[in-house]
């Protein structure tokens, strides 16, 4: 694919901005204008770019799909099987457009009175003082053309603000539903967890039917001192779709971020998760499971950036790859000179279920402090023969033993999801996709 065509692709994408309305807020318009400029200054990455070495996204260039601007008339009956049980506060976006008829606030008025769970455009004037220092400040777009595109199209999104010392009891469900073929959506999330607050958020990307479409998602999560955020991300897009996403997380002192990301869908997907521990004693757990088959490609790039001392990071990433699918994991850990006493572990474990399945895993440690504990390990392979023998010695057939161990490999990550209904659904998916007979 020539550069001319690739830049033509970006230009034709940007034409979709004509329907965007100017914002009354000068800084908001300036942010978008900066992003447009950065789109113009960059190219679509190729495999010659180190960050995209294993992921050829050139097929995307042929798909300059425009965003949807019209509200969906989707009815609850068509999508409620995606809802959490028991019901939780929920923001629903259909093809990127906020769907108030499907969304619900279900907060406890006694304890959660000042919690904001709403769509961004509705809240932007009311919360402008809170938003300005955060929106677009974490998701870096100067060197990321997809984040630049998402920011250039920024007009709505999911907004959660958890005030100081408030713990939201119920999980918050952010549900992004793709219904239209040949459309690009630009989901955007901003979560501001103020000092001492706690919240669990499920970012859930689903499709109503199979089809070729593009999702370009960006999430920003800011944790103030002692805040706790549990972020569960499920990508179950159509197996023909393209899903490009970035999530930028900033952790202040003694805050704690827990991430579980499950990648099941899309023909080609890329997830960049950047976690910056900017305050002393911050802590993060970053877990992932990729479960793909056929000709899927799923690329996860994480960067855990220890800026200050006494940070703790725990990472466990697993891939189960079947068919002729290709999984990529790049796990960068940076420990800055100031970040003494950092305690970091990373494990990348990968299971190949077919001779044609392919995995590229790359731990990348950049350590500039001397008094740190950093452990990492990566394995790629088939099931362990000792484990199979153990189960067979208990009367299970070899097939049953293999099925159980493959299921367990994935279930270990799913188990960490605290919402029972979602956990069971995902366990069922793992079961269906890993069992042979």
């Amino acid at each position: 694919m020539s550069v001319a065509t690739a830049s033509g692709y970006l230009e034709s994408l940007l034409q979709g901005r004509r329907q965007l309305q100017a914002s009354p807020l000068a800084w908001f318009d300036r942010l978008r204008a900066d992003a447009v400029e950065r789109v113009g200054a960059q190219r679509v990455p190729t495999t010659r770019n180190e960050e995209w070495r294993f992921t050829d996204i050139s097929p995307l260039i042929k798909l300059p799909f425009q965003p949807v601007y019209t509200a969906s008339n989707l009815q609850a009956a068509e999508v409620e099987h995606f809802y959490l049980d028991p019901a939780a506060p929920r923001l629903v976006f259909v093809d990127g457009v906020y769907a108030p008829q499907l969304s619900t606030q279900l907060l406890n008025p006694a304890t959660d009175s000042n919690v904001v769970i709403t769509n961004l455009s509705a809240a932007i004037s009311a919360h402008v003082m809170v938003l300005e220092p955060h929106l677009g400040r974490y998701a870096e777009f100067h060197n990321n053309v997809f984040t630049a595109l998402n920011t250039a199209f920024l007009h709505d999104g999911a907004l959660i603000i958890v005030p100081r010392n408030v713990s939201v009891d119920m999980p918050v469900h952010l549900l992004f539903i793709a219904t239209q073929k040949e459309a690009t959506s630009y989901p955007r999330c901003l979560l501001i967890a103020e000092s001492g607050s706690a919240v669990t958020v499920i970012e859930d990307h689903v499709a109503l039917q199979e089809g070729v479409y593009v999702t370009n998602a960006v999430a920003e999560i800011a944790l103030a001192d002692n805040a706790r955020v549990n972020h569960i991300r499920v990508q179950r897009d159509s197996s023909q779709a393209f899903h490009i996403a970035s999530c930028a997380v900033s952790l202040a002192q003694a805050s704690c971020y827990q991430s579980t990301s499950i990648t099941l869908g899309a023909r080609i997907s890329r997830y960049n998760l950047n976690v910056r521990l900017t305050g002393e004693g911050a802590e993060c757990t970053v877990d992932g499971l990729t479960l793909i088959a056929e000709r899927q490609l799923a690329d996860t790039h994480t960067c855990i950036d220890h800026v200050k001392p006494y940070g703790i990071s725990r990472q466990s990433h697993k891939c189960i790859v079947d068919g002729a699918a290709h999984a990529v994991f790049n796990g960068k850990i940076i420990v800055h000179p100031d970040a003494q006493h950092t305690d970091s572990t990373q494990s990348s474990r990968n299971l190949l279920l077919s001779g044609r399945a392919h995995i590229d895993t790359k731990p990348q440690l950049e350590i500039f402090a001397d008094d740190v504990k950093c452990a990492h390990g990566a394995t790629v392979g088939q099931l362990d023969s000792e484990e199979i023998f153990y189960l067979m010695s208990r009367g299970l057939s070899e097939m049953t033993a293999r099925n159980l161990l493959t299921y367990a490999f994935g279930a270990e990550i799913i188990e960490r999801i605290p919402i029972v209904s979602l956990k069971h659904r995902l366990e069922q998916t793992v079961l269906e996709r890993t069992q042979r007979n």
């Binding site: 023969s385 000792e386 484990e387 023998f389 153990y390 189960l391 067979m392 010695s393 208990r394 009367g395 299970l396 057939s397 070899e398 049953t400 159980l404 161990l405 299921y407 367990a408 490999f409 994935g410 279930a411 270990e412 799913i414 188990e415």
Partner: protein, 262 residues
């Protein structure tokens, strides 16, 4: 316990086996009758754990000679899972951890698989829960272990109790306990041994594979066999284990060599 006229359960004749092309078992002869408890003792590398794994059917161990009959039938014609269903049970020296699978699911799956094979009724989750809790009392195990992943994060002693719990559920005819005493403190040893003793009947048999005599204070063997270099070089009663404890393994091998005129 030795019973008059009890039938042979396991008959091993001239058993030879290799691992990675190296011969480890060099001709083993052993007869185990129902009701009996046999202890196989020996130093590290004598082949006793290999013997246990060969009986259970581990694929890494290649049988190169001899015969093994289990209830009169050729054991080597059975795949590992068929041996388990026929009543052979191996308690592992190092039980495998399976994070992601709850212990109760695993136990019920193995129990029902073996029950179905034996033409007996399977249990649904609620029935099984009552049943397994009763068995756990035998090993003084907390019901908490049912909800945890199989062996994951269990201490050494907890893993061994979980092994004997599986023995209690599967009710094997022949239980081979490979170094079940290793890594156990004295309290755990007493509990595990007590569990095993309660499972011993006149219809089943137990082979204890152990390095130390300590376990045999709690599970009293009818026969003690000493293995060295892939052979059983001496067989005696429970007194033999005490003599080994006092004199060490060298004493048997010196005695053997003297008898052979070497």
């Amino acid at each position: 316990m030795i019973y008059q006229n009890s039938k042979p359960l396991l008959e091993v004749r001239g058993l030879r086996a290799t691992v990675n092309g190296i011969e480890i078992l060099k001709g083993i002869d052993l007869t185990v009758r129902s009701g009996e408890v046999h202890a196989i003792m020996g130093t590290n590398g004598s082949g006793k754990s290999t013997f246990a794994k060969v009986l259970a059917g581990h694929a890494a161990y290649v049988v190169t000679g001899g015969t093994v009959a289990f209830e009169g039938k050729n054991l080597f014609e059975l795949a590992p899972e068929e041996r388990a269903r026929a009543g052979v049970f191996l308690a592992f020296q190092y039980p495998i951890e399976i994070p992601g699978v709850a212990n109760n699911q695993f136990l019920r799956l193995t129990y029902n698989t073996v029950q179905a094979q034996r033409g007996k009724d399977e249990l649904d989750p609620l029935e099984f829960d009552d049943f397994v809790r009763e068995k756990m009392k035998l090993l003084e195990m907390s019901p908490d272990f049912l909800d945890r992943s199989v062996n994951a994060g269990f201490s050494g002693g907890e893993k061994k109790r979980n092994e004997i719990l599986q023995m209690a559920l599967l009710e094997p005819l022949l239980a081979i306990l490979d170094e079940t005493d290793s890594g156990l403190d004295i309290d755990a040893l007493r509990i595990v041994a007590n569990g095993v003793n309660q499972l011993a009947t006149k219809d089943n048999a137990i082979i204890l594979v152990t390095h130390y005599q300590r376990l045999l204070n709690y599970i009293v063997p009818d026969y003690v066999h000493v293995m060295e270099s892939g052979r059983i070089i001496k067989t005696g009663g429970k007194q033999l284990a005490l003599d080994l404890e006092t004199h060490g393994y060298d004493w048997v091998s010196i005695e053997q060599r003297a008898a052979a005129g070497v």
